[in-house]
């Protein structure tokens, strides 16, 4: 081997090693950044926890609830999530209340759901806005006053500032209009009730860069669902819910009477609608707004 070719080989080796170093940097840096981001997010949760659940222990909720959320959200203003009640149909103390926390949203405590005697389970699906890469958490409280938590990391950004515009006028014109449907659970024939509410759900964060055209916050902040006189679901929420809020829930088959929905928003507007027994999804009646 000549001196020249040895030097050349050495140079090639260095080049190759340099290449690998660069490659390694490319592949490890984002992962490390992710880990850093997640650690910061745990810090955010610590203060939220102190604020909302002081002096209470929260156990790992893996066996109690499942949170299904996409790791990478396709549209940050419409992120579908499902919370599955793993205690349904068991002898364990049932879930009475759920909190939904989106750590890095402007108002992280996003919603609280209380389930009544006409609820078949605490299983619930909705669509939320996600404003930046964040942990999403569900905390469940069971009938024996215990707390359980599950979390999922979601990659999405801009959900709270983006959604205004698309179909805003339609949402405003028909504000308070509701739909009740029976929706499939995944592929199968099992169904659960879906409630859709026309509302622009403006976050108030859709800020103009040039200090004009600021849309004041206007969003649904409470939804109450009853079957006859019995409570299915009582919920409070912030603008973390997507425009035209959607809730899916399970109503007990043996619960009798009309299904009635009462919606309230932060401008103190109220919308009410009832669907006669056994007619859910087929017709609607008595829609009122005030």
């Amino acid at each position: 081997m000549t001196a020249r070719s040895a030097a050349c080989a050495r140079w090639q080796r260095q080049l190759a090693m340099g290449f690998m170093v660069v490659l390694a940097a490319v592949f490890t840096l984002p992962a490390e950044a992710d880990v850093q981001r997640r650690d910061q997010d745990e810090a955010a949760w610590k203060s939220l926890r102190a604020e909302h659940f002081p002096d209470r222990s929260i156990a790992d909720g893996e066996d109690v609830i499942t949170l299904d959320a996409p790791y990478r959200a396709e549209d940050p203003s419409v992120v579908p999530i499902t919370i599955t009640d793993e205690r349904a149909g068991t002898d364990a103390p049932p879930i009475r209340r759920l909190w939904l926390v989106i750590d890095n949203n402007p108002v992280p405590m996003s919603a609280r759901f209380d389930f009544g005697p006409a609820a078949e389970s605490a299983t619930l699906a909705t669509r939320v806005r996600v404003n930046s890469y964040t942990y999403m958490r569900v905390i469940a409280e069971t009938a024996d006053q215990k707390l359980y938590m599950v979390k999922k990391y979601v990659k999405a950004s801009g959900g709270c500032s983006a959604p205004i515009g698309r179909d805003l006028d339609a949402a405003r014109e028909n504000m308070g209009q509701m739909r009740l449907r029976q929706i499939r659970v995944g592929e199968g024939d099992d169904r659960r009730t879906q409630l859709l509410i026309r509302h622009p759900n403006i976050t108030g964060l859709q800020m103009d860069q040039l200090t004009r055209l600021v849309e004041p916050a206007h969003f649904v902040d409470a939804i109450n669902v009853r079957k006859g006189d019995a409570l299915v679901l009582d919920s409070q929420m912030t603008f973390s819910l997507s425009a035209n809020p959607s809730l899916q829930f399970n109503v007990r088959d043996d619960a009798r009477g009309a299904l009635s929905v009462h919606v309230h928003d932060n401008k103190d507007q109220q919308f009410k609608q009832t669907w006669p027994d056994k007619q859910a999804g087929l017709s609607q009646s008595n829609g009122t707004s005030s």
Partner: protein, 310 residues
């Protein structure tokens, strides 16, 4: 990676030398697609560090008194390169910058044209849409194209088009039209009467999958209107190659949007959820488009949340 490193070095060197040369980028390559109508064809990719946001079709039309720019690209640097391309071809002043809608790959080059003699023209609704989303567009740029941006990158229109208006460039009239919510709620078409050239903005995607940020039904109506009422010699889509056959250029997009609309309607009627539909609907189109996985599930989400209220 090696190439990227070299590029970084070259860019740094270039930065040093151009700091003294007034930081003027090279003129943007443009093609004359009709007499006095020049187009730069953007990369058919997501905005990234290689293309630096140069992914949309942008260009200009030259009259005897005025030039009008149609869209300015995804950064002020692309806008500046377009400006140099204009200066290399004509001394006629740029009187207008038309933005076909508020998406960042079409408007973030605006700043390069801010000048006393230049009016920015866009459809009604543009300012509100850009104001609402501008911050999140700018926030994403360091991650996507590797550039830091500030509010000066967002340039609002001086003149808004409610339905239709005509601009006189000197022996050359161009017609601007704003229709129903389609690709976005502020789509604007530009038609040069002399050469019968239609700039569709993102009302037309060729080869690259269309993205729905407005209304799928409105978009299909708009395409029906194009098919019925437009006699066009040359069509310049928002993304993809320029064509002389409007019907042929529109056909794949029409098929895609119609299939998505029909499939999503059926899924809703059968009681399938948004989640399920977004991952299953219209997979037949997968191999027919660039960037399918990047946009298709989002398109289904947009279509579903619109059509569930029908």
């Amino acid at each position: 990676m090696r190439r990227t490193q070299w590029l970084v070095c070259l860019v740094m060197l270039h930065g040093l030398s151009s700091a003294f040369a007034g930081d003027a980028p090279a003129p943007l390559p443009v093609t004359q697609v009709a007499d006095g109508v020049f187009v730069h064809t953007g990369a058919q990719a997501e905005a990234n560090r290689d293309n630096k946001g140069d992914i949309a079709n942008i260009g200009f039309i030259v009259g005897t008194d005025c030039v009008t720019v149609v869209d300015t690209g995804g950064s002020p640097r692309i806008g500046a390169a377009l400006r140099r391309a204009i200066a290399a071809r004509t001394a006629t002043p740029v009187c207008y910058v038309i933005n076909t809608h508020m998406h960042p790959d079409h408007v973030l080059g605006n700043r390069a044209f801010v000048n006393e003699g230049t009016r920015f023209v866009a459809a009604a609704g543009f300012d509100q849409a850009l104001a609402a989303r501008g911050a999140s567009y700018l926030d994403r740029l360091p991650d996507t194209i590797g550039m830091d941006a500030d509010n000066s990158w967002l340039v609002m229109p001086d003149q808004q088009v409610d339905q239709k208006t005509t601009l006189d460039l000197g022996e050359r009239e161009i017609v601007l039209e704003h229709g129903p919510t389609a690709h976005t709620d502020n789509d604007l078409t530009v038609f040069d009467r002399r050469t019968r050239t239609l700039w569709t903005g993102d009302l037309l995607f060729v080869d690259r999958i269309p993205s729905i940020d407005g209304s799928i039904t409105g978009w299909l109506e708009t395409m029906d209107d194009f098919a019925a009422n437009r006699i066009v010699a040359t069509v310049i889509p928002g993304h993809g190659p320029v064509s002389n056959d409007l019907a042929a250029a529109m056909a794949p997009q029409q098929r895609y949007l119609e299939t998505v609309r029909d499939d999503v309607r059926e899924a809703i009627a059968e009681g399938y959820s948004l989640q399920h539909t977004a991952t299953h609907a219209t997979q037949t189109e997968r191999d027919r488009w660039l960037l399918f996985d990047d946009y298709h599930p989002r398109n289904i989400t947009a279509a579903y949340t619109e059509l569930e209220w029908e």
